[in-house]
Amino acid sequence: MSTETIENTSTETGADIGSTGHWKLVWRRFSRHRLAMVSGGILLFIYLVAVFAEFIAPYSATTRFADHQYTPPQVIRPVDTSDGFQLGLFADGYTVEIDETTQQRRVSTDPSQTRELGLFVKGEEYELFGLITWDRHLIGPKNADEPVFILGTDRLGRDMFSRIVHGTRVSMSIGLVGVAVSMVLGIIIGGISGYFGGAIDTAAQRLIEFIMSIPTLPLWMALAAAVPDGWGPLMTYFAITVILSMIGWTELARVVRGRFLALREEEFVEAARLDNCGTFRIMRKYMLPTFSSHIIAALTLAIPAMILAETALSFLGLGLQAPAVSWGVLLQEAQNVRSLMHAPWLLIPGIAVVVAVLTLNFVGDGLRDAADPYT
């Protein structure tokens, strides 16, 4: 060969760096984003809680303790000195006072009593994943007759901690299907619109504009009323999110369209066309991979929106309804000022919402920064 040299043959480590795949580079960049990594850990924890809710919660979401309404939260101590010195998990007992004038029962903690908690204690029976019947709980009172409420109880004497844990599952998952449907629709419609352009593009854009102009709240109310009565509250909500995701794909479709419009003029896409690649292959192997990480980041940022939407709608009484347990449903309890005055701990599900939304946002931010590891 007369063309004897390649300009850059000296790099020994070059082969390693040069052949590192895209996703590995993204991960490398992401793992340098401290906040996103911590948030990712917390997020993983939240989803673990959602998966193993029955095991983690001391009680079921509907167990009522008739004598313990509006019980305040209390701190668990690792040491008990009431009877010598003991290590373990301890909490105060409860006393009930009755207000002379209003005849209202008031439960408060009583430091003179001690109740012991344990890890992996026997409690109510449950079915993990609907398959394994078990009765162990991660944490719970050692004596079933002396219950402890870490985050207090609500109006009906149900343990808030257990309810928040059970609510995690619904809150963190029910919108995922909606987001997934939006994603598929957005990519397909946006992709077709951007790739082919012309009349198809114009038609798709007018459709998107029309859909974007539909006010969602009235639609939501109409749908809530239109869904058959026979469906349970979860099913109803699920149906509504899916229907709403049918109109929620517009944002992503616009992004995908823009990218496709730019990409179809790229020389490597033209090269693929001249290689006799089919349209679908070009979209799948050439166009989508160049911004798949951006799509993932966009989706991660869409999940908090869906959690907030669930919370807001349930709070308004349009989303999930009472027998179902979600963070939004739990916050419904905090709607009334009187109960809030007596039991501010009813707002704790709000903290769960804030934490979940923030961690998802941070993870999404980290992903967005890592999405293009070459810059």
């Binding site: 060969m1 040299t5 390649i6 850059n8 082969a15 895209h22 020389e267 290689d275 006799n276 192997k285």
Partner: protein
């Protein structure tokens, strides 16, 4: 029908007009005549240069031949490997697959013409795989062979494009173009994005590949020194038309069209005694807008020799006495300096005698 047996490609009256804008009632419709009726032949085994300033339609011409664009009018007759003749301009997209294997493209920008998410191996293997030419170990062997052929190390085939330098990327682009054993390669500004030293290597590679594989090139470039080095014949384009066409050394030595002469005069000379950039008045005015081209000869607003006839009548491409083709009313009267002329600049006897 084709004139001679060795004619590989015959372009006749090729037109590529782009229509844009329009709005609802097509009020502001503008037609850009990127290519406006050009004709030329490409002989088997030769290198035809297509030169001109930016926006003169050279790239559009190349894209009409590869059928990235569907030409507005005209014929692109191609003599296929099996001897059959076909008009590429008239084919439906579904019929193109065969010819796209025989006519391949080398792109200008080695950075944007490679998929950043595919390894070198996959980039080269893609045409082989899509066209079902090879698979399995045969595919692997072909990729290694192609990499060697273009001077890349086969052990680097699992690298992604970003790990290659500009010159190496262009070698990859060339390997991809060669993977299907093409007959005609269209190189669109193939070396314009490269450093001068790398450029020489790539040009040498192209010459060598042509020699070994009997390739035919259409070499699109604005760089006259590259064209002079590589091309057997050259076609000079201005605003969608060919103004001069002939063997490279003749066109460069004795241009017949004032535009060709102006282009040649703009080539920087390393000889300080002939610093023509300083002595030669630069070409005045801007390249005409292809959407609103001047009447008559498109070059007349910038031509120092323009006469009344140039404003009204469009000159046709005709063969002059020395055998090359030119589109100028005064081709015979003008005496223009070429690249190897002794004195730069215009002399008195260049004045038109009418």
């Amino acid at each position: 029908m084709m004139s001679t047996a060795e004619t590989l490609l015959e372009v006749r009256d090729l037109k590529m007009h782009f229509t844009d804008g329009g709005g609802w009632f097509r009020k502001n419709r503008r037609t850009t005549k990127a290519v406006d009726g050009i004709s030329f032949d490409v002989h088997a085994g030769e290198t035809l240069g297509l030169v001109g300033e930016s926006g003169c339609g050279k790239t559009s011409t190349g894209r009409c031949i590869t059928r990235t664009y569907k030409p507005t009018a005209g014929h692109v007759r191609y003599r296929a490997g099996d001897g059959t003749e076909v008009d590429l301009a008239a084919l439906r997209p579904s019929q193109l697959a065969d010819y796209r294997r025989q006519i391949r493209m080398i792109f200008q920008d080695p950075f944007s013409s490679l998929n950043p998410r595919m390894t070198a191996r996959n980039i080269i293997a893609e045409p082989l795989r899509v066209n079902k030419v090879a698979s399995g170990t045969e595919l692997e062997d072909r990729v290694v062979e192609l990499l060697r052929k273009v001077g890349l190390r086969p052990e680097h085939r699992h690298r992604f494009p970003h790990a290659f330098s500009g010159g190496e990327r262009q070698r990859l682009v060339i390997a991809r173009a060669l993977s299907l054993d093409p007959r005609l390669v269209i190189a669109d500004e193939a070396v314009s994005a490269l450093d001068v030293s790398v450029r020489a290597q790539i040009l040498e590679l192209l010459v060598e590949l042509q020699h070994n594989q009997g390739l035919t090139y259409i070499f699109i470039s604005h760089d006259l020194s590259v064209v002079e080095y590589l091309c057997d014949r050259v076609a000079v384009m201005y605003v969608g038309r060919i103004v001069e066409l002939g063997p490279t050394d003749e066109v460069f030595a004795s241009p017949r069209h004032p535009y060709t002469q102006a282009l040649l005069a703009a080539v920087p000379q390393p000889d300080p005694a002939r610093r023509n950039i300083l002595t030669q008045p630069p070409l005045e005015g801007e390249v005409a807008d292809a959407a609103n081209a001047p009447s008559g000869c498109h070059f007349h607003p910038r031509c120092p020799f323009a006469q009344e006839i140039c404003r009204t009548e469009s000159p046709t491409l005709r063969t002059t006495s020395d055998g090359h083709q030119v589109a100028c009313h005064f081709a015979e009267q003008l005496r223009l300096d070429g690249l190897s002329g002794d004195d730069a600049g215009r002399t008195a006897d260049q004045e038109v005698q009418t």
